[in-house]
Symmetry: C2
Subunit: 318 residues, 2 copies
Amino acid sequence: MTFYIGVDIGGTNIKVGVVDEAGRIVGESSCPTGADRPQEVVLKDILRTAEDAVAASGVPRRDIHAAGVGSPGAVDSETGTVLYNYNLGWRDFAIAPMMSEALDLPVRLENDANAAALGEVVAGSAKGASSAMVITLGTGVGSGFVIDGNIWTGYNSAACEFGHMVIAYGGRPCTCGRRGCFEAYASATGLIAMTKEAIAAHPNSALGELAHREGCVSGHTPFDAAEAGDPVAQRVVDEYIGYLACGLVNLINGLQPEVISIGGGIGKQGERLLAPLRLKVAEETFGERTEGEKMTRLVSCTLGYKAGLIGAAMAARR
Amino acid sequence: MTFYIGVDIGGTNIKVGVVDEAGRIVGESSCPTGADRPQEVVLKDILRTAEDAVAASGVPRRDIHAAGVGSPGAVDSETGTVLYNYNLGWRDFAIAPMMSEALDLPVRLENDANAAALGEVVAGSAKGASSAMVITLGTGVGSGFVIDGNIWTGYNSAACEFGHMVIAYGGRPCTCGRRGCFEAYASATGLIAMTKEAIAAHPNSALGELAHREGCVSGHTPFDAAEAGDPVAQRVVDEYIGYLACGLVNLINGLQPEVISIGGGIGKQGERLLAPLRLKVAEETFGERTEGEKMTRLVSCTLGYKAGLIGAAMAARR
């Protein structure tokens, strides 16, 4: 049997798994990331956690053929170097060669969102798709594009920042410096901002009362209030879905992937989000809607946090 | 020697060429498209023109191994069928199998913009690029994406309608039914509309006088007046470049192709367009601009009308 180590580096925790050829986790372990510590100290924790995961899996060391690492930030997969990463404070961190030496295995580095996309294609919501785009709706909007089982990284390893695709010229400011990015509208952060604006304008709405009762506004709040029949919340949800559909239709018109999988915090709304989203997307997509015409399938991600480490392990297969 | 027939179906003319392995045309011919005639009648003209091109090339019939056709509209490359095409009035036209039978050759059908993109990659501005996007700025905005010498058609042959990527949510109406599409701003049509609006607001500007003298507004008009120092025209050019850069940066952030080639009527402005465009694109692209960082190259298309037929021929190689 052949197994791979997958490492998913998050802002809070580092998760490591031993994964089989089919993308099943057979042993795992984790440790706190401890961002802002020297890179080399974090590396030691990763290596120790990898050994823990191998021990937990019971897989003989000789059956492990390679390791993959998913890291946030800008990465160069050819040299295995994290170029820079604002959240963790990393810069020019040659993590793959260093891990490779310590583990005596080939090590492949990928961007974390891209790795998660590959995980969903190999073992999750887009299993078997010839091409798939995974969009994660969280603090930001992440995206990964997988063609024939390979992550599309562009010619410089920096591709798939579709969160920073402008959909509203001159619109909401984005963390990247542009205005009107998809991320500024379709992220959980964007939805929460829209919800707070609606509450400020309609403090006595059921939406406002729900937020007051819960003491905060989350990505759930407008969906819950809309489901309970509040028109103010419904308008927020409709507006949000309008922006989200806009970005997705851009991707469909341009790339026509077989599947788009929606993940991240807002993705957990499941059909409450996807059912109206599919209608809006079908309405706006370029071309005629003839019977039997092949349309991109819109589904929810199914692997959750495991997508990243499964995908990192699967990236190591190449 | 191995040769291929390439057919480029345009709204006005059909061009046919015999092309060698390296993408060089060794013989060509053309005929009027005569749109709105029955599909079968047009097919007869294509076949006759192909024989003319073969005769002009002097290539022995047995050295021609396949033919490729670039057609506007929605095509299904798997079945070789033009699904629909509003300009020519075609619908469910199984052109590739019909040509294949008549010519006794394998025939490959591609969308015309995709074929032109492949032509630029094999023999033109993006020669040798591992990945390239070709954007044509004409009546509409066409796009083609080529990865490792293959046209990216998506899983349903309908990909690469990046002209119908919304960049200005709720903005200018587009022919596709959406609002704010890249095409509505970055096409020659979009530039001419912006120019006319500026002239209406400033009829006595040098721009207005130039348009009056020439009796019309074309894609050249604002560039000519701006070069002569007119601030009204300069604002139009700056606004246009802002929208064009916006769409290109979306594509770069998402796909990071090695090269983007700009063609079509507006592409003929060459460095007058590209020099300021490169500055704007560099300013907006996601990530740090570190020294030596790989950046997508922005260049002008070099094959002109020949790109379509060369690319159609090259698509037939697969």
